[in-house]
Symmetry: C2
Subunit: 312 residues, 2 copies
C-alpha cells in the first residue's frame, strides 16, 4: 500500500460525489400540487442551502469501498442528508438552540416562521424513510432485503437511542433542574458518549447503510462501521476546534457559540493541541480498521484525512 | 349477509384489540440506559395517555379481514400509533395550536418543556420506522417484501404529501399573508382535501399497511384502502360534530376550540344535520367497497359503524 492510497485526488473525488448528491437531492422531495407550496419551499430552502454533504458522500464511498454500485446507495445517501437537515432545522428552533444563521443563510424559522420550520423538519424526516423504502425501485429479493436492513440501521441511528437521544443529553446540559441549578458539566467520557449519539450515530449509519446497499458481508460491514465511528468522533472534535478558531463567515454559522453557551467542547476540556492529537488518533484507528478488512485503498481513507484537515 | 355481520360484538372486539395494542405499545419504545431517561419519559407520557387506538385497531382488523395473521401487522399498528402521537405532540406546541390539554392530561410541552416536546415527537416518529423495519424479525422474503411495502405506504401517508402536508394547509388557513390579511376560508372541497391529508392519509395507511402485512392481493388491498378513505372522512366529520357538541371532559381536550379559532369545520360549513348525513354516506360507500371485495363480514364494517356512532 502506498502512502497516498485512497487519498490521492480526494478533493476531486469529493467534488464529483458532492455534485452527484446535490443533483439527486434536487429531485427527491415531493413537489406541488401533491405537496403544499409553502411546505415544499421550506423543505427545499433548508436542503439546498449547501453543506458539505459529508454523510451522503460517506454513504456512497462505503458502497464503492465494498465493491458495490454506488447508485444503489444513492437513495439512502439522500435520505441521510434529509435527516441531517431536519435535525439542523429543529435544533435551530427558538425553543432549542435559537440559532438565526445556518450554512450562511438565515435559519428556516427566521424566514418561514416557527410552525412551518417544525413541519418542514417533520416532513424532511418522514420523506427520508419514504425515499429509502421506495428507491431504488426493485422486486429483486436481495436488494429488497438490503433496503429493509438499511432502513433499520438508519432509523435506529436517527432515533431515541441515537441522534435524538444525543440531542436530549445536550439539552439536559443546559436545562436547570427543579432546584434551578444546572447539572454538573459533562466530563470527557460524558462528552464522548453524547457526541457518539448526537453526531456519531448518523455518520456511522451513513457508512453502514452504504456498505449494506453495496452488498458488504459481515466483516467488511463491521470494519466500515468501526472506521465511521472514529470518523464521527474526529469530525466532532475538529468541529469544536473550528468553532473556537473559526470565523462566522467561513463556518456559515455563528462562531464560538457553543463555548459562549457554556456547552462542553473538546478544546474546553482538553485544549486545542490535545484535541487535535485526539482527532489524529481517531484517524489512525479508522485506518487500521479499514486495513484489517482489505479496504485501505478505498476512498474512505481519503475522506478520513479530509475530515481531520478540513478548514470549515 | 345478515344485518349485523361484522358488527355484532364490535365493542368487545375493540376492547380486546385495544388491550393487545396497549400491551404492545408498552414494550416498543427504547428504554434507559440506551435512551436518555428524560426523553424516554417524555415519549411514554404521550404514548400512554390513552386514546382510542383507532388506527392500530384498524390496521389489525385489516390484516384479519384479508385472512392474515394480525400479529404480523402489530409492529405496523404500533408504528402508526407512534406517528399519530408524535403528530399530536407537535400539533399542540405553542408555535402550532398551542394546546394545553390532550387526552385529559396537560400536553407534553406543558410538563416537559417545549424543547423536549419537539425531541420526543422527533423520537416517536423515528422509532415508528425503526420498529416497522425491525419487527416482526424475519428472513422470509415474502414478509420482508411486505414490510418494505408497508413502510413505503406509511411514510408516504405521514409525510409532506400526506399528514404533514395537511398540517401545512391547516397552518396556512390561520397564517396572515404579507399584507396581514388571512387567506379566504376553505370551501367544502378545500376542507375535504385538507382532511384527506391531515387525518385521512394516516387512517388509510393504517388499513393499507394491515392489509399488506396480512398478504392481501391488489383487489382486496384497493377495497380496504377505499373503505378506509371513507372511514377517515367520516371520522373527521364526527370529530367536528363532537367538537361543537361535546364537553371538554368527555373529549379529553378543549371543546369548541376549532370553531373558536375560526378553523373551518363540517358543522360550520354544512350544519350538524347535513354533516351527520355526510358521515352516513361515507359509511355506506365504505360498506359497498368492502362488500365488493367479499369483506362485508369482516370487523372493518363494525369499525365503520363505531366511527360514525361514537360519542367521544
Amino acid at each position: 500500500m502506498t502512502g497516498d492510497a485512497g487519498t490521492a485526488g480526494i478533493a476531486e473525488y469529493l467534488r464529483q460525489r458532492r455534485a452527484e448528491v446535490d443533483d439527486a437531492l434536487a429531485r427527491v422531495l415531493p413537489s406541488p400540487p401533491h405537496c403544499p407550496p409553502p411546505l415544499s419551499d421550506a423543505m427545499r430552502y433548508s436542503l439546498t442551502a449547501g453543506g458539505k454533504r459529508l454523510r451522503p458522500i460517506l454513504c456512497l464511498a462505503s458502497a464503492e469501498a465494498v465493491g458495490g454500485d454506488r447508485w444503489h446507495a444513492m437513495p439512502a445517501a439522500c435520505a441521510i442528508e434529509l435527516i441531517h437537515t431536519y435535525s439542523l432545522v429543529h435544533d435551530d428552533l427558538p425553543a432549542m438552540d435559537n440559532d438565526t444563521m445556518r450554512r450562511g443563510r438565515p435559519t428556516l424559522h427566521v424566514v418561514a416562521g416557527e410552525a412551518m420550520a417544525i413541519l418542514a423538519g417533520d416532513g424532511l424526516l418522514t420523506e427520508a424513510f419514504a425515499l429509502m423504502a421506495r428507491e431504488p425501485h426493485t422486486t429483486d429479493g436481495v436488494l429488497v432485503a438490503r433496503k429493509l436492513r438499511a432502513i433499520e440501521v438508519v432509523a435506529a441511528a436517527a432515533g431515541a437511542v441515537g441522534m435524538v437521544g444525543g440531542q436530549a443529553i445536550d439539552l439536559g446540559c443546559v436545562t436547570p433542574g427543579p432546584d434551578g441549578v444546572l447539572p454538573p458539566p459533562l466530563d470527557g467520557e460524558g462528552l464522548r458518549a453524547m457526541h457518539a449519539k448526537k453526531t456519531g450515530a448518523l455518520i456511522r449509519a451513513a457508512a453502514a447503510a452504504g456498505a449494506i446497499m453495496g452488498g458488504a458481508g459481515d466483516d467488511r460491514l463491521a470494519a466500515v462501521d468501526r472506521a465511521a465511528a472514529d470518523f464521527g468522533l474526529a469530525f466532532q472534535i475538529v468541529d469544536d476546534i473550528l468553532d473556537v478558531q473559526g470565523e462566522s463567515a467561513s463556518l456559515g454559522k455563528t462562531a464560538g457559540k457553543d463555548a459562549a453557551a457554556g456547552k462542553p467542547t473538546y478544546p474546553a476540556l482538553y485544549g486545542i493541541e490535545r484535541s487535535r492529537a485526539m482527532a489524529d488518533d481517531c484517524l489512525q484507528r479508522a485506518e487500521a480498521a479499514l486495513e484489517g478488512a482489505g479496504l485501505a485503498d478505498s476512498r474512505l481513507r481519503g475522506i478520513g484525512r479530509w475530515i481531520v484537515t478540513r478548514q470549515n
